[in-house]
């Protein structure tokens, strides 16, 4: 099993944030986690990526049961295998485009940053500070940071929530094209109906 969850449940102060979830994802397949706002999509993403510890159940990635690993081991798995694209992008403002992208890079890799910047349409913007970028440019830098590590899994949390149709298409095409290069699995959480048409497998989250 590439990535799976079994009886995964998350509670805060006896309040159920995420009901028991069971599913598995094969390598290279893309999954959309859909549901209403506040249904626990982000929580599920955080549990699957090891950023949160479940109340019960477990997550496994390539036969590694997160519940049996130390926090440091999970950090290592995450840094080597997972890429993140956040809704609010979270670029570090005092760093340049290139420096922000390189934050997601493992030490033992040396990607072609020029090629990547060319791919995302930010050629010759290496040294521009993140705080001086437009929202669209920032979004592309966030995507580049999420994929620079050639991750096996790309987690994207509400990547299109504030975009119009044209830009939604552009962003998703960019994510999918970059994932295809690395044969990455994409897991997107979104309540945006426009995103559904890009996926064959949709994991519905219901409380």
């Amino acid at each position: 099993m590439f990535l799976g969850v079994k009886n995964l449940e998350f509670k805060v102060a006896n309040k159920t944030i995420l009901n028991k979830q069971n599913f598995s994802i094969s390598k290279g397949k893309h999954v959309l986690i859909s549901g209403l706002s506040g249904s626990g999509k982000t929580t599920l993403m955080n549990l699957m990526s090891g950023l949160l510890k479940p109340t019960s159940g477990f997550v496994s990635f390539e036969e590694n049961d997160f519940s049996k690993l130390t926090e440091e081991n999970i950090d290592q798995i995450r840094s080597k295998n997972f890429g993140f694209i956040f809704q609010r992008l979270h670029l570090i403002k005092h760093l340049t485009v290139e420096q922000n992208i390189l934050l997601g890079l493992n030490k033992d890799q040396s990607p072609n940053i020029d090629e990547l910047l060319d791919d995302i349409g930010l050629k010759n913007k290496h040294t521009q500070l993140a705080k001086n970028l437009s929202f669209g440019e920032s979004q592309r830098v966030a995507i580049a940071r999420g994929i620079i590590n050639s991750p096996k899994v790309i987690f994207a949390d509400e990547p299109t929530s504030s975009l119009d149709d044209r830009n939604t298409k552009k962003v998703l095409e960019l994510i999918f094209s970059q994932a295809k290069k690395n044969n990455s699995t994409i897991i997107i959480s979104s309540h945006d109906e426009r995103v559904k048409k890009f996926f064959k497998k949709i994991q519905e989250i219901n409380l």
């Binding site: 440091e72 840094s79 956040f86 979270h90 420096q99 934050l103 940071r145």
Partner: protein, 438 residues
Amino acid sequence: MNDFIYIYLSIKSRLLNSTLTVLLTSFGVLIAILLSQISNHIEKRLKSDGKGVDIVVGAKGSPLQLVLSSIYHIDIPNGNIPYESALEISKNPMIEKAIPLALGDNWKGFRIVGTNLDYIKHFNAEIKKGRLWNNDFEMVAGANINIDVGENISGAHGVINGGRAHDDHTYKIVGVLEPTSSVLDRLLITSVNSVLEIHGLENIDDHNEHNHEEDKNKNKHHDKHEEHSDEHDDNHKHNHDSNENHKKFEKNVSSYLEPEITALLIKTKSPVANINLPRFINRQTNMQAANPALEITRLTTMFGMGSKTLTFLSIFLISIAVLSIFSGLAGNLENRMGDLAILRALGYSKKRIFKIIAMEGTSIIFSGIFLGTIMSFFSFEILSHIVTPLHISKAKFIVNFEFYIIIASVFIAGCIASIIPAYKGSKISVANQLSQNI
């Protein structure tokens, strides 16, 4: 990205805050080191200059002034004491050695000291060039005085530069001493008689001889008086001799005053004498005996009040710098929680986050210490050129234990100030932090 580059960029992004913290740290370190260097130098000089002197005898007045003027040559003498009385004191069996000092003149601010060769031996000084004085108005110069053998100089009245010159008498420099790292290096040494002669006082050798002669004359007079009844023929002759001697004495008295010296440096035979002898002198004579050790303790206590103020100032500055590092990192941490959460999400371990934040703080404190140390070195070099006492004593910057203690204390304080926010930053809940921001 390399962590050092990330730290550098992070510090650079808070350039004003970081620069102010570095400057605060460096000023604190600068004051602390300068204070330590100057205090050490003064303490060292006080010890070396006062070594081997248990009691100073001089005119009544301030005992501290007597000690400062006679041992350290940094104050105006209280006055003079009769040579006769000083001589009497020096015969006391409790005294191992007594060195007379006759002060009162200077040459270009360097004090002229009339003394005997024991004063040179007292400092274990050796001749670098020329020889010691054999005759009056021959002089030996300390190592720090820019003068050469064969030069002639005229002293000026007073112990500081600018007094009336004694142009009618010149000294000949016959020797230059090797450096002793003591007060001797900035003195011009000559015989007591030279100084007395210039000031119109009777030569101490003549005075002794005169007293001796006077005694002899008295005895002679007495003998002759006994013979008076028997030898009437010789009466005229006796009267003639006696009159001649009296005339000679009157001539001496009219042209020269009784010899006086400024002070007597005494080394006693036992510590008990250090207590008993001053008591005796202060009660039984018109002179004053001062204990240098006691007076210097008083002086350093007074000086200590000033240095304590500066010590507090340096501690205050360093504390502000440390608090500034703490507030800079801790306050900034709130704004950086999102950034740190991203780094954690990207796989940065807690240890790595801790290291990054702690190293930011220690880099700032290290820069402050480095800058402060460099500044203190150059400041001390400048001070040792422009502050006369430091200049003439050739004060040098010394890397001693206290220096390392200052550096280590500031660094440890800075590290503690960095560790607290670093620990807090490493413990953030990534998911919660990201959820708050999403």
